[in-house]
């Protein structure tokens, strides 16, 4: 039985988190010992971009080239993916958790009458049912969840599996979906997106600043450090609340939950609501002048000292080590 993966694009590029989802599908197919991965890609995409999905583990790509799908119109995407999924006869659909992915997955669950689990952190266990481990309580715990329906949808959290890069080119087939006008009834009138930056929810390294940075004018050194590391920048809730940084950089319980390989927190005390947004990070570094800052208890490495002195030194040391 094949495994279908819904892949998202952003401006003609397949998103990295979607390629991770393809690799998750590949690992799941290997575990069940049957079938191959079929990716479903929507909107205008170049042939080589589509074939490259194979490197992450897809044998085949179903491409629905309808250019109205370039934008993430939720209902239209859900209709298109449902039709492609049904055409394959597959029972498992994988996708990466994201702003669009979540919204599409929920509608697909009803359309396909499929049991849906979100925030999946590892491959399912297949002994005694289809048991999926998911992150709950904003990363403070995990739940084993048994899906009892024949069809299943898994929304994968970042870093659930390592992305595979050694696959072959995928075979690309075009697929035509019938999407009603009413599915396009809601209109996206404008999109504001930070350009030329690493996007926070997808970043492997995140450099975050808190009130200890004293003001938005001091963010330059954080941005320098982030650029040196190829990292995204984030911030604590107070920082986005006072408007030093935009809301989409707020990391925490009610902001973006990140799961990078490396999280560097600078001048953030580590309130429990902030920790909830970062506790899936592989390695946490804390730089704070207060040795009693609660964040040190959640950190792997720490430096007690003045961020204004340490951050430029750290940037220089990283450049020297390259």
């Amino acid at each position: 039985m094949s495994i279908v993966v819904y892949v998202e694009q952003s401006a003609g590029k397949i998103k990295k988190t979607s390629l991770e989802a393809v690799s998750y599908g590949f690992a799941l197919a290997a575990k069940t010992g049957e079938g191959e991965v079929i990716a479903v890609a929507l909107g205008s995409l170049a042939a080589d971009e589509l074939a490259a999905i194979g490197e992450a583990g897809a044998a085949k790509v179903l491409h629905i080239s309808d250019e109205r799908l370039n934008a993430g119109v939720i209902q239209a995407h859900a209709s298109a993916v449902a039709q492609a999924f049904e055409s394959t006869g597959a029972t498992t659909l994988i996708l990466a958790k994201s702003s669009l992915g979540d919204a599409v997955a929920a509608r697909l669950a009803i359309k396909l009458h499929a049991g849906l689990v979100s925030n999946v952190v590892e491959l399912p266990r297949l002994e005694g049912g289809f048991v999926v481990k998911r992150s709950i309580y904003t990363g403070k715990a995990f739940a084993d969840t048994t899906i009892t329906t024949a069809k299943k949808i898994l929304a994968i959290k970042k870093n659930a599996v390592d992305q595979k890069l050694d696959g072959a080119k995928a075979k690309v087939e075009s697929f035509s979906a019938t999407i009603s006008e009413s599915d396009f009834a809601s209109k996206i009138t404008a999109t504001e997106r930070a350009t030329g930056e690493v996007l926070l929810p997808e970043a492997d390294i995140v450099v975050s600043g808190g009130r200890g940075m004293k003001g938005p004018e001091n963010w330059g050194m954080l941005v320098d450090l982030a650029n040196t590391l190829g990292a995204a920048t984030g911030c604590s809730k107070p920082v986005s609340d006072i408007g030093w940084r935009p809301h989409h950089e707020h990391v925490g319980q009610t902001g973006v939950k990140v799961a990078p390989t490396l999280y560097i927190a600078i001048g953030i005390s580590g309130a429990i609501q902030h920790l909830a947004g970062v506790n899936s990070s592989k390695c946490i570094v804390v730089i704070n002048k207060d040795p009693e800052a609660p964040f040190f208890k959640a950190a792997d490495y720490g430096i007690v000292g003045d961020a204004f002195e340490i951050v430029p030194q750290l940037t220089a040391a990283l450049k020297a080590a390259h």
């Binding site: 859900a78 929920a106 669950a109």
Partner: protein, 245 residues
Amino acid sequence: MKILVCITHVPDTTSKIQFTANNTKFDSTGVQFIIGPYDDYALARAVELRDQTGGTLTALNVGEAETEPTLRKALAIGADDAIRVNSFPKDSFFVAQQIAHFAKEGGYELILMGRESIDFNGGMVHGMVGELLGMPSFSPVMKLELEGTTVKMAREIEGGKEHLEAKLPLIAGCQEPIAEWKIPNMRGIMSARTKPLVVVEPVSQETQAEASSYQLPPAKGSVKLVDKDQVSELVRLLKNEAKVL
């Protein structure tokens, strides 16, 4: 206009999470329960829109009797009446079916809720209700304005936002900064006691993906401190020991 706001009854964000009964049940000992923070934003915006349109606002929760104080708080903040669907919220699909049924029965034109609950974090119920009712659904919505039957919204996407226009009826999963949280005043608290709170039984028992057991993450080892004059040592540790560079 009839507005429905769906709220969750969840542990306070500062709660220590623990499990009991051989890791099959959440341990609520000493835990304070609140309206989900995202639902609180939805509720605040719903109150503003009710006042703007002169309509009515109903708060709904799927939960057992212990969630009633949370529903009463929603009434104190400004909902006109409340519905409690009398069941433990077993999974997203179970909850979505209840909301879809009572939303349809009540003829609500705008259904707001938080982008996700902060216990199970699924963020799926609004989309499921939308598909069940054949209505568009949007999440996470950070701005929502009504102009007649047109709804203008901003939805957060990775690294930015998307501006949208859609027609009523619709469903939105909300987050900040859609509105400022509202704190109930004394008059609200007094009037909440006498506002109608109807208890109804669930319309379906069907579930698809119920949690069966829970685990806590492994305990974190202690932090390794690097001297502030040895910053290059941190780089060495990240490269060679943690292997994250």
